[in-house]
């Protein structure tokens, strides 16, 4: 095959790249402007890797053994039918992923609701974007990560990044911030914070207080954009009654960010001609994540930023298809087109497209953590697509226990992930460059990832896997097309009229290079690069302030667990590391889990740089190599979450959930630090 223009398999930036067999070169696409990080450059290495799965595996006598597709499919179908017969449709659950293409996410949702008839479907995006999505929906009436093109950021004077570390998580993105002064909110001095004009390091779990403090300073210094608030928003007064109680000196006490710095942040934002407020997982992955994002949106609204050309609010989506993945029905409470599953009109529309009675569609199911917690109880069988919850879910030792309690665990993946290792049946599926499909990047632009090489023999697409299973459990074959283009046609119809309307997007328009940002309500429509310029998506056109108050972390330090731990990513690895840990050039740079500690804190635990330490919480412990970092807060440790087994950072994290988004509290928990036994 000649070289093919495609997109990176990793994060939501979806850098443009050119693939020649397995050789990657960067390509000049707007989001990456010719840049690639080390993950992108080495992305081809996994295509011909010996770690690829090329045959279905079936557990026999405790061992996963190669079997034919037919045998594996028959086995799974029989088990699914038996489970449904004996325990009801909701005894089978589906767990998806934010890396799946739009077509797969869509068909997975349809498969769950129509073929399995189960309400129990959710996905790992619940661990990623759910707080930002819920807050964005509440404030603006619709949730699109960036409601403007990434390239607009180049015109900003000031950008506030709350809990986002793009210098490590999506490096080429930083090019768009070259001319802006950055305000970076992060308890750690990250590579992004090092680029900041102003770095504010709040105690973990106190971001909402900080957002309220900066907002308070904006109002107290007379910078409230009153005409914008009057004309374009609702709910300021109720919100302000709470924000008024968070004067900067009080906020300083809670956050450790000086009142002077809060006022400076307010001043910088207010004086900027163009400014943006952007959030990332650091501020979102909390049991109060939705409220916290609401606090940042309040700040942006008080300054009159959202829906103004050249300024705005947005969140930086994480996974490759983190945006599209949350729009087309693999979320417990949603149907395609970003429709609500409990909305009768939405149910009627989608049911018609699917050719089934609306009343046959199940209602909302459990969210990710609650679903995983139910395994082995009322849920007897689980199908996992594009996810590795054994590494990525909070309190992962418990997830492992729950998986062991299942009658049937089926995993579709292209490598033997830590979750696949525990499965009864594993199906080998293609990876990015081996198949066609669309993704929606962090700015809501729909991209076509083209097939550039053939998958290895023995591999079949997720779409055909779903069809083959659907047919075996009694569905008509025409209801489950296995061609991506055909599935996309159905997705277009199903999304038509929804918030995320793709009905005007076609493969042909995408192939011709059109930049289509949803909504695209018809084929003549040019797409919507900038949303909200004329009004927000609520019926009255106004954005909503959120009357949110600071409550703090779900778990506070005490004498037994005197420190706080936070988790995050490193540049060389992606999510659970199932892909990147198999690429030698990346593991050479970051081979294993480490824990960043202030040198004084390390010394108090009798630890020095390079020692092995046990990081322990109420839920479990992780063994990690100590890195002494003088810029760390003395009361905080940091671990990356990409590593398996005893090195899983998520062995210690807290599954406390946000009441609205059901996001777990990945970003703060109480821990102790001790020397590991030799």
């Amino acid at each position: 095959m000649p070289h093919v223009d495609t997109h990176c398999p990793y994060c939501a930036l979806q850098c443009g790249m050119r693939l020649d067999e397995t050789r990657v070169t960067p390509r000049n696409f707007p989001v990456n402007a010719g840049g690639l990080c080390q993950k992108g450059w080495t992305a081809g290495a996994l295509l011909k890797s010996g770690a690829r799965l090329t045959s279905p595996l079936l557990r026999r006598d405790g061992e996963l053994q190669p079997v034919s597709w037919g045998e594996a499919l028959d086995f799974v179908a029989d088990q699914l039918l038996a489970s449904r017969r004996e325990h009801g449709a909701d005894s089978v659950a589906v767990f998806g992923g934010g890396g799946l293409t739009n077509e797969k996410a869509y068909l997975l949702g349809k498969f769950a609701r129509v073929a399995l008839g189960t309400s129990q479907i959710d996905y790992n995006g619940r661990f990623c974007m759910s707080s930002a999505a819920a807050a964005g929906m509440r404030a603006f009436g619709v949730d699109r990560g960036l409601p403007f093109p990434v390239t607009d950021l180049a015109g900003a004077d000031v950008v506030l990044l709350a809990g986002a570390n793009p210098a490590e998580t999506m490096p080429p993105f930083m090019q768009h911030l070259d001319s802006a002064e950055l305000i970076v909110i992060d308890p750690r001095r990250t590579p992004t914070a090092e680029r900041a004009a102003l770095h504010l390091a709040p105690a973990p779990g106190t971001d909402l207080a900080l957002a309220l403090g900066i907002l308070h300073a904006v109002v107290a210094e007379g910078h409230l954009d009153k005409s914008y608030v009057d004309l374009r928003t609702a709910g300021f007064d109720e919100m302000w009654r709470i924000a008024a109680t968070w004067w900067p000196e009080r906020v300083e006490r809670v956050t450790g960010v000086s009142a002077a710095d809060q006022r400076q942040a307010a001043e910088m934002l207010a004086r900027a001609g163009n400014a943006y407020v952007l959030t990332g997982r650091g501020t979102e992955q909390h049991a109060s994540g939705t409220a916290t994002v609401g606090g940042w949106i309040n700040l942006a609204l008080a300054l009159g930023l959202p829906g103004r050309a050249g300024s705005g609010f947005g969140c930086l989506t994480g996974q490759g298809n983190g945006q599209g993945g949350r729009e087309h029905g693999q979320k417990a409470d949603q149907l395609p087109g970003y429709r609500k599953i409990d909305d009768p009109a939405a149910r009627a529309h989608v049911a018609e497209v699917w050719g089934v009675p609306a009343e046959s569609l199940p209602g909302p199911g459990r969210s990710a953590v609650e679903l995983l917690d139910e395994l082995g109880e009322s849920i007897k069988a689980l199908l996992v697509f594009g996810s590795n919850p054994v590494v990525s879910a909070p309190r992962s030792s418990r997830v492992q226990e729950r998986l062991a309690g299942l009658d049937l665990l089926v995993v579709a993946d292209f490598v033997l992930s830590e979750t696949a290792e525990l499965a009864d049946v594993v199906f080998p599926v293609p990876q990015w460059a081996e198949e066609e499909g669309t993704l929606t990047n962090l700015e809501g632009r729909v991209l076509l990832r083209q097939r550039s090489i053939d998958p290895p023999d023995g591999v079949r697409s997720d779409l055909s896997l779903l069809r083959d299973l659907a047919v075996r459990i009694g569905q008509p074959v025409e209801r489950f097309p296995d061609d991506a283009a055909e599935v996309f046609e159905e997705l277009r119809a199903a999304s038509k009229g929804g918030a995320a309307d793709y009905s005007g997007v076609t493969y042909q328009r995408l192939r011709s290079g059109e930049a289509l940002h949803w909504p695209v309500p018809d084929e003549a429509h040019p797409g919507t690069p900038r949303m909200f310029l004329d009004g927000f998506a609520h019926p009255d056109g106004r954005a909503r302030f959120a009357d949110v108050d600071h409550s703090g972390p779900a778990e506070l330090p005490d004498e037994v667990f005197p420190l706080q731990a936070t988790t995050g990513r490193v540049l060389q690895h992606y999510q659970s590391g199932a892909q990147t840990r198999r690429i030698a050039e990346l593991t050479a740079v970051v081979p294993e889990v480490f824990v960043e500690v202030h040198p004084d804190t390390a010394a108090r635990s009798g630890l020095a740089d390079g020692d092995r330490a046990v990081v322990r919480s109420r839920r479990g412990e992780t063994v990690a190599q100590v890195r002494c970092v003088p810029s760390m807060r003395a009361d905080l440790v940091f671990m990356p979450f990409h590593f398996p087994g005893a090195a899983r950072a998520n062995l210690v994290t807290n599954p406390a959930l946000d009441p609205v988004s059901r996001m777990p509290e990945f970003k703060v928990c109480a821990v102790s630090l001790a020397r590991a036994e030799a």
Binding site: Q38, G222, S258, D261, D600
Partner: protein, 474 residues
């Protein structure tokens, strides 16, 4: 079980907060039927922000704690402009001039009243205001014309915040303070001196160790040393007295405040008190933080949300809210280096407007004064509140530099060790660049092609260029 009748006397910061906390736990009023009696005619407002009103950042509207619909929306029977005449513990009645309110529990949140120093001719009126209410603020703002002479009686927190706000509006302010330095309860003399000097630079005049003897309305103040301070307006900020008259008349134990225990109970178990009118051994007077913490505890108890809730006292931090001045003081501030059991680190920079003092015992912060050191104030406060061990480098803590910036950038690439990562996006070290150069990649573009340096976020472009220049010059 029917809801219990709770009557809150007082609709200021403490009373309003308690009502909020109760409704947060009992939104529908299933457990508590709530009556709030407020003496002022308007809704509660945030007294902490009054100095911001005087300074000019806020107005009466933005400092309100509740909207006018608050009571109706939250099922609270709110009576404004209602003066309580008596609590009758025997009949469990709160009496006003027009109506009696039966109670199961009553809460005194009557606050405090300004203390008027014994100065001949000094009476609240058009030329004399306290600094306590929104109406006072309006009068102060009204009088603060550029060049207008204003006297402030008292160099405590409120007096200094008023003086700073007035000076900011251009008034000609004199603070009359009977002690040798300002904020003598919170600061040592060194900090007091630096603070007064800083305020003087901002236009505030001080008269120390004198008291006002006589007020000549429209003219000024005659001081006890015979001198004269001109003043169109006198702002009285000489302290407050807890409002305890209802409690005393009801026979409750009162000693410079209504005495309360850890359940915020007075000597009558059905009568509670909180905020400025109450006296708990662990609660410093005159600050909002103890009142709010007490409100949370009392709401837990009154709604039954947490019958084990107790108020054990508050660790407060003194913060002066005055533009261009950053002052924080906490814990034991008067300790000197003569106390051998404590580590005392001080830093004194009067001309720079900075003063720092850190008192450490057994690796923990027990006291601090941080003036003009905002970063240190934030860090030290957290060390104190969280009981975290103090970093080894005490002076760095005091200067707010305990958390250093990132690695310093070397002046020349020659000075960087070979292991230094130059391009983080592609994990390219200086050593790798040298190796590539020796392999024939002898300009920045070739280095980029060979090593991928600069091909990520691009921020290392200058450094790679400098390395290339340095290698070319070898």
């Amino acid at each position: 079980m029917s809801a219990r009748n709770v009557v809150i006397i007082g609709y200021g910061m403490a009373g309003a907060r308690l009502a909020d906390e109760i409704r947060r736990r009992d939104p529908e009023g299933d457990r508590v039927r709530l009556t709030v009696l407020g003496e002022e005619p308007h809704p509660a407002y945030n007294r902490v922000l009054l100095s911001t009103v005087v300074a000019g950042g806020m107005n009466a509207d933005t400092v309100r704690l509740h909207d006018s619909e608050w009571a109706a929306q939250t099922q609270v029977d709110l009576r404004l402009g209602t003066r309580v005449t008596q609590i009758d513990p025997a009949r469990r009645l709160v009496r006003t001039e027009t109506e009696d309110f039966p109670y199961d529990s009553v809460v005194l949140a009557t606050g405090a009243a300004p203390w008027m120093p014994p100065v001949e001719g000094l009476e609240l009126g058009p030329e004399v205001v306290a600094f306590r209410t929104l109406d006072d603020c309006a009068r102060i703002v009204d009088a603060a014309r550029p060049g207008a002479p204003v006297a402030v009686l008292g160099g405590g927190l409120l007096g200094l915040e008023a003086a700073r706000g007035l000076a900011g509006r251009g008034a000609n302010v004199t603070v009359v303070h009977p002690q040798p330095h300002v904020l003598e309860r919170q600061l040592d003399s060194g900090a007091g001196r630096v603070l007064a000097r800083r305020l003087a630079e901002l236009g505030v005049t001080f008269r120390f160790e004198v008291t006002a003897a006589r007020h000549l309305p429209g003219d000024g103040l005659k001081l006890d040393d015979g001198s004269f301070v001109p003043a169109d307006l006198v702002v009285v900020a000489a302290g407050v007295r807890p409002e305890t008259s209802l409690a005393e008349a009801a026979g409750l134990a009162v000693d410079r405040g209504i005495l309360v225990d850890d359940l915020l109970r007075t000597s009558d178990g059905r009568i509670h008190a909180l905020g400025d009118c109450a006296r708990h051994p662990g609660a410093p007077a005159g600050l909002v933080q103890p009142a709010w913490e007490q409100a949370a505890v009392l709401a837990d108890l009154l709604t039954g949300a947490d019958a084990t809730a107790r108020y054990r006292g508050t660790r407060t931090v003194t913060r002066l809210k005055a533009r261009d001045i950053d002052l924080a003081a906490l814990g034991e501030t008067q300790v000197t280096s003569e106390d051998a059991a404590a580590e005392v680190v001080t830093f004194d920079d009067p001309s720079g407007g900075r003063y720092g003092k850190l008192v450490v015992r057994g690796d923990r912060v027990t006291g601090a004064i941080l003036l003009g050191l905002p970063d240190a104030a934030a860090t030290v406060t957290q060390l104190h509140d969280r009981g975290t061990p103090v970093p080894e480098d005490r002076l760095a803590v005091l200067l707010g530099r305990a958390m250093p910036a990132g690695a310093p950038t070397a002046a020349s690439p020659a000075d960087l060790p070979a292991s230094t990562v130059i391009c983080r996006c592609n994990a390219v070290t200086k050593g790798r660049l040298i190796e590539a150069w020796r392999g024939g990649a002898t300009d920045a573009a070739a280095l980029a092609r060979t090593t991928r340096a600069t091909t990520g976020c691009g921020s290392c472009r200058d450094t790679v260029g400098a390395v290339a220049d340095w290698l070319a010059a070898q």
